[in-house]
């Protein structure tokens, strides 16, 4: 077992454990903090896969903005921040069924895929991953359309939020 595999196993265990704690802990702020731990674990996995840009963006966007806003939302909408609600509602069996179905479906799909046992080729020396990503996101031959559509969607969401919150005098 190489060092990288050991790190991966530790990080994967940590990520799954914190993901489990997100849904099992009763305290909402704790759940948000465990979610941050999960997202951090995912960022480490990205870093292990040589995707440094994704790892850093994961921390900036998910931990720095989204998770913090989650905590804000929890704190601003609950009367008591130590609130210990029930963990399950009436349709828990449906959620469990869906989870098992998704997992077994993925399992059967990946049975026929031989990518799991392959090792990825190393980057050629002097390969500028961030530059390549930037070119791909802005070149018409690659992903400029999805990128722009996502941007338009975000702008629409932003305008909608401003419209809802705008206080007409």
């Amino acid at each position: 077992m190489t060092g990288e595999q050991i790190i991966f196993l530790v990080v994967a265990f940590f990520t799954l454990f914190s993901a489990l704690r997100v849904v099992t802990t009763g305290n909402l702020v704790h759940a948000a903090l465990w979610l941050i731990a999960t997202l951090f674990g995912v960022a480490v996995v990205f870093a292990l896969l040589d995707a440094g840009f994704l790892a850093v963006v994961q921390v900036v966007v998910y931990i720095g903005a989204i998770a913090i806003l989650f905590i804000f939302a929890v704190m601003l909408t609950r009367k008591d921040m130590r609130d210990q609600g029930p963990q399950l509602n009436k349709t828990w069996w449906f959620g469990a069924l869906l989870a098992v179905g998704t997992f077994s479906g993925l399992y059967f799909l990946l049975q026929g895929w031989n990518g799991l046992s392959k090792t990825a080729a190393d980057f050629p020396s002097g390969f500028d991953a961030v530059g390549e990503l930037g070119t791909a996101l802005t070149s018409p031959a690659a992903y400029v359309l999805p990128f722009e559509v996502a941007s338009v969607l975000l702008v629409a969401a932003l305008v909608g939020a401003v419209y809802v919150a705008f206080n007409r005098k």
């Binding site: 903090l33 850093v56 720095g64 913090i68």
Partner: protein, 397 residues
């Protein structure tokens, strides 16, 4: 390879020779050397941090016409050590109802968010932790962990003042992150890379001459990011007692305090690296890496001094003014500046150097002038509105 030209590599090779000579496998020896390097850098930073306490206190007292610490040791230099001993022997209080794990984790994360920044700081051409190709984003990511530590401290203390302080501070941090990240892209455009080392290497002419406005916006956003006056809304000692760290005592408070000082010094360093050439100073960095370290520490100190100068000169701004200033002035200005810079950079790609530099500089001046004129006319309208309302109110009396 001689020690005076590349001391880190020589030292690492020497240690590797010794460790493998003891029968340690090479990979294990590499890991041990890596950890040793981190340990040495962090220890030096913490020692520097101790003296930053002394520097901060001396400088603030000079700004306020006082003498400052001068009793313990020459020029009061031993004072910070006395302070540390005091902090260590103080009673460590955890408030009732505090969330113990989160409460104890917050000061650690706060300090960590500052220390990990130094992983990407190039101290000399051959001395840097990692040459990340996303260095500029990494700085913001480390800041995100700092933001997290503040909200954790504010919430877990179980105190309304600390929670309000944390809310305000986090609102400011999240807002000012946006212009900061935007202006960090301007050195990226000039250098053609987000790596901190590449940005330093590209500054044959300091980027502050290409884009003085970006340097100014970075300084303002950095001060807000540090939570220092005039943006010290999280502390606001006159209304919130001390903000998010009110319940912390002893060394845990010391961690927040030392973290803030080191953070200010670090951002002085980043101002130097992104806009003032980093370790470059008329070829001095080529003479010896040790001179390069002296140059970058000196520039970082100047940046730190400017931040202190602003802190101890200006009054605190009200929170709504602060956020309005960010969202309605700084953020649009940063966006427009980024677009203009990117456009000019593409347009003048083949232009001679002097023309490129002067048109970049002029575009900045013009943009700053337009922004100030717009701000002036808006504030005049606001003032007239307020005064008109006052007159109406007086007429009713």
């Amino acid at each position: 390879m001689d020690f005076w030209n590349d001391p880190l590599k020589v030292a690492a090779d020497w240690l590797l020779g010794i460790l493998t000579g003891w029968g340690m496998p090479e990979i294990a020896a590499q890991i041990v050397i890596g950890f040793l390097g981190v340990l040495i850098l962090l220890s030096l930073l913490m020692v520097l941090d101790i003296f930053l306490v002394w520097i901060e206190r001396k400088v603030v007292s000079r700004f306020q016409s006082r003498i400052g610490p001068n009793r313990v040791g020459p020029f009061g230099l031993i004072q910070p050590f006395a302070d540390i001993i005091k902090l260590l022997i103080k009673e460590d209080i955890t408030p009732t109802g505090a969330d113990k794990v989160v409460y104890n984790l917050a000061p650690l994360l706060s300090m960590m968010s500052v220390l990990i920044l130094w992983a990407v700081v190039p101290l000399a051409p051959t001395m840097l932790g990692v040459d990340l190709n996303v260095g500029a984003l990494y700085i913001i990511a480390a800041g995100a962990i700092g933001t997290l530590s503040i909200i954790m401290a504010g919430w877990s203390s179980n105190n309304k003042y600390s929670l309000i302080g944390a809310f305000r501070e986090v609102a400011v941090l999240l807002s000012f992150e946006i212009p900061m990240l935007t202006v960090m892209l301007i050195p990226t455009i000039f250098a053609g890379s987000m790596g901190i080392a590449a940005i330093t290497n590209a500054q044959t002419i300091w980027f502050v001459f290409l884009s003085p406005l970006a340097a100014l916006i970075f300084l303002i956003a950095a001060i807000a990011e540090l939570g220092r006056s005039p943006f010290d809304m999280g502390e606001a000692e006159s209304e919130l007692v001390a903000g998010y760290n009110i319940e912390y005592s002893g060394m845990k408070f010391g961690m927040f305090y030392a973290g803030e000082l080191l953070h200010a010094f670090t951002f002085g360093g980043f101002l130097a690296i992104l806009f003032f050439g980093g370790y470059r100073f008329f070829g001095l960095e080529q003479v010896s890496p040790f001179l390069a370290i002296v140059v970058i520490l000196f520039k970082a100190m100047i940046g730190y001094w400017i931040i202190m100068w602003i802190k101890y000169t200006l009054l605190r701004i009200r929170i709504d003014h602060m956020l309005a200033f960010n969202w309605k002035f700084l953020t649009p200005l940063a966006f427009v500046l980024l677009m203009v810079t990117a456009f000019l950079n593409a347009l003048l790609a083949d232009a001679p150097g002097w023309f490129y530099i002067s048109s970049m500089f002029l575009s900045n001046v013009v943009l700053a002038w337009i922004a100030l004129e717009l701000a002036r006319s808006t504030s005049r309208k606001e003032r007239e509105k307020v005064e008109g309302a006052k007159k109406v109110a007086e007429a009713h009396h």
